[in-house]
Symmetry: C2
Subunit: 303 residues, 2 copies
């Protein structure tokens, strides 16, 4: 079992979907990622919250064995807040409000022990900060990165510099097309590999995820759910399952990457079944194993 570090956001989300709503619920990329990954390995979170951040949220992560020693609690500051809503097409969120607050001046600082971690996930933050974190790492074996349209449009040059130095890019399909400036997703994937990563994972919401690694394609469907409550955090949960599994095994080979994809899809399938981290909070590890087996059954065919 190898150590895994995540740098990203810890936030308070207000979300409305056709099935209900929550106000100021626990959210943020590093939150979903670390909670999901905690089922597989030891996770260290690097983030910042304001003085207003409810103590029980950090206690929740600690209860899962997540190291929150590098979560900076800033006096006199407020926590990052996101407000969004989804229509019946749950694939796309409409952002109603973003208050960066403490996140606007976030400077990730890793402890000496974290700098030696073999597995690192750079969640969706400013690529300049992602670069800064990478410089602090001494011997990462596998670095994965997420990003979004905001950075692709506004900080392409910095983003390309960090992409040249990471192993895996996890990105959604619209953003993959935008980054590659190519409407065909397969061409886009190849163009992204030319930017540096050895592996690209393209997340397609209810349509599953596609990986290109070492020139080979792998498809993982989404779990067939009869009720999707809130897709918020699905991508970060996917990343948490993906990286958590790899760190648990301490492996980065092609076979492990495929298993990691399915673990990502499995974990994401739980997150979307309720608001915030509610479903993950009542997740029994045996359920992960069962859903993994269902995935095998769902795609199996022979000659």
């Amino acid at each position: 079992m190898a150590e895994l570090v995540v740098v990203g956001s810890v936030a308070l989300d207000s979300v409305k979907t056709p099935f209900g709503q929550v106000a100021e619920a626990l959210g943020g990329s590093a939150t979903y990622f670390s909670y999901a990954a905690s089922f597989f390995t030891r996770v260290h979170v690097v983030a910042a919250v304001g003085q207003d951040f409810p103590k029980e949220h950090l206690a929740l992560l600690e209860g899962r064995g997540v190291d929150i020693g590098a979560v900076q609690v800033k006096d006199g500051k407020k926590t990052f807040r996101w407000t969004g809503e989804y229509g019946f097409d749950l694939n796309e969120a409409r952002t109603l409000d973003t208050q960066l607050n403490v996140f606007a001046e976030f400077t990730p600082v890793l402890s000496p022990a974290m700098c030696k971690a073999p597995f690192l996930f750079l969640a969706n933050i400013d690529p300049e900060l992602q670069l800064d974190v990478l410089r602090q790492m001494t011997q990462p074996r596998l670095v994965a990165l997420d990003t979004m349209n905001f950075w692709i449009e506004g900080k392409r040059e910095a983003l390309c510099r960090v992409l040249a130095r990471v192993d895996v890019l996890l990105i959604n399909d619209a953003e993959a097309r935008m980054l590659a400036r190519e409407p065909n997703l397969i061409k886009a994937a190849r163009a992204i590999l030319d930017l540096g990563p050895r592996v690209v994972v393209i997340k397609r919401g209810e349509y599953g995820a596609l990986m290109v690694a070492d020139g080979r394609f792998f498809f993982a469907p989404a779990y067939p759910l009869e009720s999707v409550f809130d897709p918020t955090g699905a991508g970060d949960t996917f990343a948490g399952g993906f990286m958590g599994y790899l760190a648990q095994r301490g492996l980065t080979d092609a076979t492990s990457l495929r298993r990691a994809m399915v673990h990502g899809a499995v974990m994401a399938s739980f997150t979307v079944e309720d608001f915030s981290l509610e479903r993950l909070k009542r997740l029994d590890p045996a359920e992960i194993k069962r859903r993994y087996e269902v995935f095998q059954e769902m795609v199996h065919f022979d000659r």
Copy 2:
């Protein structure tokens, strides 16, 4: 190898995509279906064309061993014509013009031999005609049916009557939601099974296809293509590969249905690589085998 009958349209299509255009090219559901299925088994086409229909098109099907004895050539009538275009989102066609012509008064008549065929595909035509064909069949082992929004909205009652009597419904995702009056695709699939079919296959274009059979889910991705020229006929080609494979093997069990799904996806992946039947016309059977193997590789993972 079992006999396979298809009842549907033979048409002249004018299509424009971002990559080019064709005028009055060979098209129609029964055309794509029978050409694709001809790689697997003996196919009989039941359709109607006008006096203006180019002889070489029928010769093309005959050259593949397709029985065109039940293709009615109507004196003084014109062939069914469809004009449509696609934007960069190749998942959705915009119909510019439809001229039913001879198809408006089409009455399918099956020969006594055809009535005894064990495999039948009712392509997307008026559900009243689909019922009429079903009544002519004496001992079908597997009947599959396609339909579209036009019939779901305009002839729901007749459509439900025919659905109660078929084994497999092949349908696209938007139409599955419309038929089931349910936005969640998984719930929609279950609702459709309640209407009668044992198996539902939901086609999702570039996202692949989903099958629910005997309560179990199966996902087939779409083949990762770097250039999709024209998606016209992809669904009917899928159906041709699906039914062609089952008829070739003379099987309808769960394992064969899964292999049939992948053969459908393989055949459709060729059709979209060029306009009309151009890619299928230069298809080497060895390419089908190779692409089937790539599909296996694309979804394989283990514990």
